[in-house]
Symmetry: C2
Subunit: 283 residues, 2 copies
């Protein structure tokens, strides 16, 4: 069932009293990564809602909101095939009302803590995680799921959403699912569509850097500078590295030494497409 209004979702949701409900929030342009979340939701819950919404308030003014891929017909077919009960694809007007500027002058926002935001992607994407938390809370309040499913690919987002759920006592359990990769190692992303064939080859460097860091850690190297330095031999002038960090996977705090709770995270532009990837060192 493809629904476009909040009221329709609430009405359908009410019919499911006593059943467990899973929500998979997406921005559409679904790929095998999203489908792995949907599969997990189907296994965990009686009913599954997938939201497809390119959320304007999580994009900065110079980001790719307008050109972000929108493929709702194909998304809906994929969801139907995967046994999804409701695909919720609202308009920005349905989510944020009409005629008001979308800013904290006029809208109530959920603001995750500065210590979690002021690093990694949050450093360059000002306001991004406020926008993410706000829309995720709205979707939670609309769909009222028992479980919600997020990918490890957006690692900082997953940490921030778990923190939001804890801080605001939100009655939803967050299930995090592993990154899905192409055979080449490239982490799946809707933004991979922007890349040329050459760009896709250059993009492999992200997962290679992370795998190499993990291999070095497995061999006993725990010095974080030393681990990070192994990256530079992979980078060429076609790579614009934004960050490479090794942090605590639960709190995103800096560590003195890498350990089994460490996560290595990378963001890098290839052909001006911003790509991210990460790996747990301890698994």
């Amino acid at each position: 069932m493809l629904l476009h209004t909040i009221d329709d979702v609430r009405r359908a949701r009410k019919e499911w009293k006593g059943l467990t409900v899973g929500l998979v929030p997406t921005m559409g342009a679904l790929h095998a990564g999203h489908l792995s979340l949907i599969k997990k939701a189907k296994e965990t819950c009686d009913k599954v809602i997938v939201s497809v919404f390119v959320n304007p308030i999580q994009f900065g003014p110079s980001e790719d909101f307008d050109k972000y891929p929108r493929t709702i017909e194909k998304d809906y077919e994929l969801c139907k095939d995967a046994g999804v009960d409701i695909v919720f694809a609202p308009s920005p007007k349905e989510m944020y009302g009409e005629g008001q500027r979308l800013s904290n002058d006029t809208l109530t926002y959920v603001c995750p803590p500065f210590f979690y935001v002021n690093k990694l992607c949050g450093k360059t994407r000002t306001g991004h995680f406020d926008g993410v938390c706000t829309v995720v809370l709205k979707l939670f309040n609309i769909a009222q799921p028992d479980y919600a499913f997020f990918g490890q690919k957006d690692a900082q987002q997953a940490v921030i959403i778990r923190k939001m759920v804890k801080d605001l006592n939100i009655p939803v359990e967050i299930i995090q699912c592993p990154i899905v990769r192409e055979e080449s190692g490239l982490a799946l992303s809707s933004r991979n569509k922007y890349l040329s064939e050459d760009g896709k080859k250059d993009a492999l460097v992200l997962s290679r850097i992370l795998n190499n860091i993990k291999a070095c850690y497995s061999k006993g190297i725990t010095d974080i500078s030393a681990l990070k330095e192994t990256a530079y031999s992979y980078l060429t002038d076609r790579h614009d590295l934004e960050y490479l960090e090794i942090l605590d996977k639960n709190t995103l705090e800096e560590q003195e030494k890498a350990n089994n709770d460490s996560i290595a995270l990378i963001a890098c532009r290839v052909e001006n497409v911003r790509l991210i990837d990460n790996i747990y060192l301890g698994e």
Copy 2:
């Protein structure tokens, strides 16, 4: 039933499947104003939860958090007599965890829009409404009520909470209840306890000013400056006026002329106790 933990409330709440639940959020020191909210909740809902929590994150560093009156035994007796099902009186540690500074460095906050906050009480009480919205959303997520009850006394708070509920699609209906006054006209407030007998007499000026503005409006005066100027003859050197405003009651926007949607709001210190009051001009 007096409960102190979030888990206990969730457990009790689960037993009420299919029944309507009302929440009356308070900071305790209950008076007849709170009891009018509880009465309305009892009339509206099958089950009623009253929260009693002096919320640290809505007090500024120079405000009266430490000396704010705490009378939980008496509050609990009043609630029992009024037929309340659950009194939820958590500790700050239960609500915000242990050992972390309570700030937006470390906690997820709900931030109401600047246009609603940057006026009236919000102008002097920096961060106050962020703290209010955050704790109210937490209480909503813990108690999961169908209805929540707020007094018109805190008019700006009521507008901001309705805005939060709309912006974040919170599945709770907000019921606003009229101000309860002493026979003298003084609006009930837990902070009235701080006043001496002389102070209570001086405090009557707030309601007198508002009643006079309403009387003038009823006689046809709609010029806002003229209406506000009627206040000054009431004020003495024992009154420290913080604001007197006439605004749109739903949006708190300035108006060209007073009309039936106007609200007059006053904040004034008497014996250094900050008192607020308001009146709808059109009712």
